[in-house]
Amino acid sequence: MVITLAFLILAIVLATASYNRPVALVGLGLHYVATGVLLGEAAGIQIGLERFVVGAVVCAAIWLAIAGVPVLKAPRRLKPIVRANPAPGAGGTSDIQAPPTAPPPDPDQEAAEQPRQELATTPFFRLATIALCLIGAVGLAQNYPLAGSGEQAPLLNFAWYSLVIAGAFATAITRDPLALGIGLLLVFSGTEFAYAVWTAATKPNLLAVLAAIHLVLALLISYLVRASVGPPEASPEADKMGDAR
């Protein structure tokens, strides 16, 4: 169980600290494998199997969405959170001021439509914060052990606390839809883990509902990732056909 737990920690670090989308997705997939193994031992083999299947489907759905989406670049230094200015020529600032042709846009409306820059979180900052999250999870697991009983209880409590805390951290510091979605999946996974260990519930209908939440969340994340990069580009042939019509 200790090895599986180390595997889970690696998965959490990859899923929450990486700027590389495929690596983060691999981290998410590994987390499903690790929690599946842990739950298989603690609460029953069918729960473990359900985790593997759900993890495979969730990762496949997100993979299809992120294929072709540009990879995020990690910031090299801390930057203040500022609103991004649109490029000159696209209604943004430039050295030569064009005469106003329309009433000035509402700043609130404009701000809502502009994407905001990622919070200044360098990889070092992320790793250090995740380490702090894990230390916090150790403290909580020792002082407030909510789930499980017996010798393995501290490890299981650490597992679900670390999933919830690291997932919440990942959700809080990003505006990237994929990172946000992975954070939400980790938080939900942690809650589900605690419930499974606490009650040893193996009702198939309950497992199906919880699995449906994972899948719907994965579909929403995929949708958000695609929506955040713009409309699919039409091919030149299609444009020509449209003009001909």
């Binding site: 609130d108 809502a112 505006r175 939900f188 809650t191 606490w198 939440i213 719907v216």
Partner: protein
């Protein structure tokens, strides 16, 4: 059999509506037909049975809320069809209806029901993303999805703790469970200060999708809370816990009202009015009395009706199906006088002013709060007065504004008739609430746990 039909009809028709999304009229009428069938099935539903291995015990309040929710959804679908909006909305709306129904049927197992509440909120989020490349919709949706996952986790955690409480009988666990349920409900209803998702959703998302998130999901949250309190009376048995929960609701009502007063935009005013109204609903629910809970049910029905009406009015003044900027609303009195009247009724209704639909429920909440602590009732009345002032100021601005330079949006007459019917319903229920109150009291009197 009818339980399974109630759950699977909306999911099945949702799939068909998605496949037929290019034939918008077909998708719309399939959806409206499915919802009408759902209402008929829900009215004639037997109280006990089995659904996929889960014991079903249909709670009387939940049945009432299910019928009201489905009726409101049918009206929203009809409006979406009239306005010619994105047809994929019907698929997400029907999936939401299926999950809401499943949640209401499984309330005897609150953990499963909480999971369905979360699922219904997530299905509703699909309506926020009508097209690729819409970054503003994506941002609003991301905020809403995060909030709903957190609300769902609060509810799931609460019922884990309730399970432990039933074994250990530790009073602290009951308090933790109550706190988690109230927090989950506050996020679902967007009560201040858990309203962070609402202003952006109303401003940026398609109107019909916002109406789906605010009305049906809010009513589901209220029904879920009542069924939970009935199933686990220990949650509100402690006097201090009840008072604390009522205080949380009162600060939400006051805080939301003060924020609403400071808003200049109509969409933000609407969002903060809802955040305040949700606070009053929480006070009624937390009172644990028939008077307060009855008021909360009536108030939540009224809030849902008023919010849907206000959003539909905004949709009529808009061109693209999302909430219009305020400059488009200028000169509304000359372009669309009926829309302005309906908007006035919806806004003042949300503020809890008589003789509109929210007032009778709000009055019952004031009474329940006064019985516990008169200061709470005074604070709620102050919140309502601030909201009335805010809406009156906004109305004055709309009435005295010059004609907008923006071209007038064309809209079907059917949509105007629909909003006028809803406005009339708001006034009729506000003036003569006795039949609905009798129904609610009859339902609540079957709950022995209430004070």
């Amino acid at each position: 059999m009818s339980y399974a039909l109630l759950v699977f009809i909306p999911f099945g028709v949702s799939t068909c509506a998605y496949l037929a999304r290019r034939a918008r009229t077909l998708a719309a009428w399939m959806s409206i037909g499915a919802i009408a069938l759902e209402v008929l099935l829900a009215v004639g539903l037997s109280d006990r049975g089995q659904l996929l291995g889960i014991a079903v015990d249909v709670h009387p309040v939940a049945r009432l809320i299910l019928v009201a929710t489905l009726t409101l959804m049918a009206a929203t679908f009809f409006y979406a069809w009239l306005m010619g909006r994105d047809s994929s909305f019907f698929a997400s709306g029907l999936a939401t209806a299926g999950a809401i129904t499943a949640s209401i049927l499984t309330m005897s197992e609150p953990f499963v029901a909480s999971a369905f509440v979360m699922l219904s909120a997530l299905f509703a989020a699909f309506g926020l993303l009508p097209q690729y490349g819409s970054k503003k919709h994506a941002m609003a949706a991301a905020r809403y999805i995060s909030s709903m996952v957190m609300a769902g986790i609060c509810l799931l955690t609460a019922f884990m703790v309730v399970g432990e409480f039933l074994v250990a009988r530790e009073p602290l666990l009951a308090r933790v469970a109550t706190a988690a349920v109230v927090m989950g409900l506050a996020i679902l209803l967007a009560a201040f200060p858990f309203h962070f998702w609402l202003p952006r959703v109303i401003e940026q998302a398609p109107i019909v999708a916002s109406a789906l998130l605010i009305g049906p999901i809010g009513m589901l949250g209220v029904g879920f809370f009542i069924a939970t309190v009935d199933g686990f009376p220990s949650m509100l048995a402690d006097e201090r816990t009840r008072t604390l929960a009522m205080l949380v609701g009162t600060q939400a009502a006051l805080g939301g009202a003060v924020l609403a007063y400071s808003q200049r935009r109509l969409t933000h005013l609407l969002a903060y009015s809802l955040a305040s109204a949700a606070g009053a609903t929480i006070v009624g629910l937390a009172s644990g009395s028939i008077l307060g809970i009855g008021g909360a049910v009536l108030s939540s029905l009224g809030n849902a009706l008023s919010a849907t009406l206000a959003l539909m009015c905004l949709g009529l003044a808009s061109e693209d199906g999302s909430a219009p900027a305020d400059d488009r609303l200028m000169g509304l009195k000359s372009r669309q006088p009926f829309t302005l009247i309906a908007l006035l009724i919806a806004g003042l209704g949300l503020a809890g002013l008589p003789p509109f639909v929210v007032f009778p429920g709000r009055w019952m909440i004031y009474e329940a709060a006064a019985l516990r602590e008169p200061l709470l009732a005074l604070a709620l009345i102050a919140a309502s007065a601030i909201l009335v002032l805010a809406h009156a100021r906004s109305l004055h601005r709309l009435m005295s504004s010059a004609e907008s330079a923006a071209p007038s949006a064309s809209h079907p007459r059917g949509a105007t008739r629909l909003i006028l019917s809803m406005a009339l319903l708001s006034i009729v229920v506000g003036l003569y609430p006795a039949p609905i109150l009798e129904l609610i009291n009859a339902v609540l009197s079957q709950m022995p746990s209430l004070l």
